[in-house]
Subunit: 445 residues, 2 copies
């Protein structure tokens, strides 16, 4: 949204011109109104929110930032929230309810008029947030496999009335078990004499209620689905997950890897709370601090090296930095490869062999260049000239193999390899780098 | 796919048991066959590929890894490729064609029997790969706004026959300009007496052929669409982009940020080519090397400091590492916030203020802890005891503000802020950190 438009809306709020505001809001898509509310100050957003019809308000609140949503929910009466939940898909309603405490949840549930909707929400709240059950909604068109196509069409028409959009029709047997699916396309291209079970695609791809969300995302991505049906432990159809919810998951997963690699333990991008911001970052900084102190102890044991060759100290940042950079590169490639399934932890040795060759090329180039620089600066006979280059070579090789090995081993141990990247790899490489540097210098002295 | 199954398939290939293999492949989804081919050795994958029907082969090749696809395309005759392109959606066909050189492209095009398909592919190849035009396909159901609903249904039926799936029907006027859209749902719920233009949703969300892909992804994500229509400069409907292609884009974009932050300039995850692997990594390593040499020069100018307090050298890794860690955290949060629109470059000072408070808390905690350690180790009067802690405090504050500022300024200058994270921020913070450390020590001595 253009900033001029936001200024205009701000002015209208100040002037209390509700008619003009309402006519502007009428023109906007709920997602745009949500974007507007995210940009405005809290009181202004509240003002806009109060002007909206229940149905639009429901669509807007689903699209708001976590922070803005929380602020609005806190000041909205439970009765109003209940009315708006009625207009939401159950998956969106549940996502919103999860942010509230139990008392508020119960208060809102008691105000929901549609008992079926309230029941669905209560049921869905029981599932673990990180599983298919926690992400699914119950809005879907479901028909029995024994219906004829005209009966099916009639049934669909009745069910579709209440829904925003439908893309698939799910087919169940008399025991409510998922038997098939057909894309809406079939509705208009199939001969009307057939029975549903003869037209449907049998054994559709589905997920279980306890399938982890990242697997659901992989399935939807792999099979290019628009929605995936969710079944319980005995195969009964209990819900569906749509691609838009999964897309958020794909983005969050990729962002999470990046955050972990950057030493941030939880998603605090939009969080204004200083305590949460600090607790997300301090742990890695403290581990980095311990690494630094550890390094100071190691270096303290090599007093004699620095006394004999005081110029050795100048190359500490170069050795440490190079190890960190190389290790970060190797581990990032492995973590991403494992996450998007282009790499398999079974192929560990193949990957290490590949990384070793790349490392060898980089190690030779970097050591040679630094050798030339030091040759000019200190002369060919100075210990530092060859000790720094030999150390760099060893550090690049070590950091590269270590950065590949650690995430692959973690994956095999079923530990999220993303936690190994960034700070952990950097700090370990820094310490090992110092040990290599001091060791080689002592050997050469 | 389970490794036992892969072993079984390997054995069948060795035994040349094509009948059994074909019956296994018949049971598999094309995406699963692609996954299988990615796992197998090149010759084995080739063997499997040759057993497939043209239509399945087309679906499989679309789903293959870049590497595996390239290998298979190189050994498949142009005539066979042409036959398979005929079964693909034009967007998939174009994506595949882009990997081939011009001669091969022309050879394949000359073999495509469906002239319309060939023409569409030629037209689509002209668009820039990173725009909506380069990602769109031409398969869609399009009806004129003046049709009656029964006419429309008939038209849809005819067009849908040739398509895998349809989710929206696009409505155009006599000049082929996009006028509206209706979800398939309307097909079954709308009264048959209406004209298309009275049932459709007017002014649908659309993108232009030259809209950058990341904007297309944002639009599809924001409005929760399953597909978005693409129009040319005068509003004529020329194609559509589906959510599955955009999901790949969302993942790639998030992965790209992470790679840049890790000092990898192009996507080389699955690339076995050593030259490409090296050129993707060496630039940042060389910049890191220059940074390290730069640091050695800076430290070389403070000989007197190290002579007076030789224990100062031991804290070089701690100071450099902490600056790097803090800077990486701050810049990663800003880069992600800017990429997913939760942060706006206009709010630079608000973000810096927020980061400064978090930095202050972290700086105080880290400096205090290190002070206590050094107090015990060197005593309260040693220069190193307070110089290291004061430097750490300054470095954390600087690195945090610098890491926030740089990506925000780049965003304002319309330069991708992701290039600022990782190596650049780490190296700069390392150098500035040394300057701060030396400067403060000189002042305190």
């Amino acid at each position: 949204m253009l900033s001029e438009n936001i200024e205009r809306i701000r002015d209208l709020i100040k002037a209390n011109d509700t008619n003009e505001l309402k006519s502007i809001l009428d023109q906007l898509h709920p997602a745009d109104i949500a974007e507007l509310c995210d940009e405005l100050e809290q009181e202004e957003a509240q003002y806009i929110y109060m002007l909206l019809e229940d149905e639009t308000a429901a669509d807007v609140i689903v699209e708001l930032d976590d922070e803005a949503r929380k602020e609005i929910l806190e000041t909205t009466p439970s009765e109003t929230i209940a009315k708006r939940l009625d207009y939401m898909d159950t998956d969106d309603a549940v996502e919103l309810m999860r942010d509230l405490d139990e008392n508020k949840q119960e208060e809102i549930l008691s105000h929901i008029e549609d008992i079926e909707q309230a029941g669905d929400i209560v049921d869905l709240l029981k599932y673990d947030e990180d599983t298919a059950g926690g992400l699914m909604g119950t809005e879907m068109v479901v028909v029995n496999e024994n219906l004829s196509m005209p009966e099916c069409l009639k049934e669909m028409r009745a069910q579709a009335e209440e829904m925003d959009e439908i893309y698939y029709v799910y087919v169940i047997d008399d025991e409510e078990r998922l038997r098939g699916v057909f894309p809406l396309k079939k509705m208009i291209t199939s001969p009307s004499v057939s029975k549903v079970k003869h037209v449907m695609k049998k054994d559709p791809i589905s997920v279980k209620v306890d399938t982890p969300i990242d697997e659901v995302a992989q399935i939807i991505e792999k099979y290019d689905l628009v929605a995936v049906p969710v079944v319980d432990s005995i195969g009964r159809l209990v819900g569906r997950i749509t691609v838009d919810d999964v897309m958020d998951e794909v983005r969050e997963q990729a962002e999470r890897e990046y955050q972990l690699a950057s030493g941030i333990s939880t998603d605090v991008e939009t969080d204004d709370n200083i305590v949460r911001q600090t607790t997300a970052r301090l742990p890695w900084l403290l581990i980095g601090m311990l690494g630094g102190i550890c390094n100071s102890m190691i270096l303290g044991n090599f007093d004699s090296v620095f006394l004999a060759h005081k110029e050795m100290a100048l190359y500490i940042p170069l050795i440490g930095g190079t190890g960190g950079n190389v290790g970060t590169q190797s581990s990032a490639l492995v973590v991403q490869g494992l996450a998007n399934n282009s790499l398999d932890a079974k192929h560990m040795f193949k990957q290490i062999a590949k990384e070793s060759v790349v490392a060898l090329v980089n190690a030779v180039i970097i050591s040679m260049l630094v050798y030339i620089y030091n040759f000019v600066r200190w002369g060919a006979t100075a210990t530092v000239t060859y000790s720094v280059s030999i150390s760099l070579f060893a550090v690049v090789m070590f950091a590269s193999i270590f950065g590949t090995l650690v995430p692959m081993i973690l994956e095999r141990l079923k530990i999220d390899p993303a936690i190994a990247t960034g700070p952990f790899i950097t700090i370990t490489n820094d310490i090992i780098g110092m040990l290599i540097y001091m060791g080689i210098t002592v050997m050469l002295s």
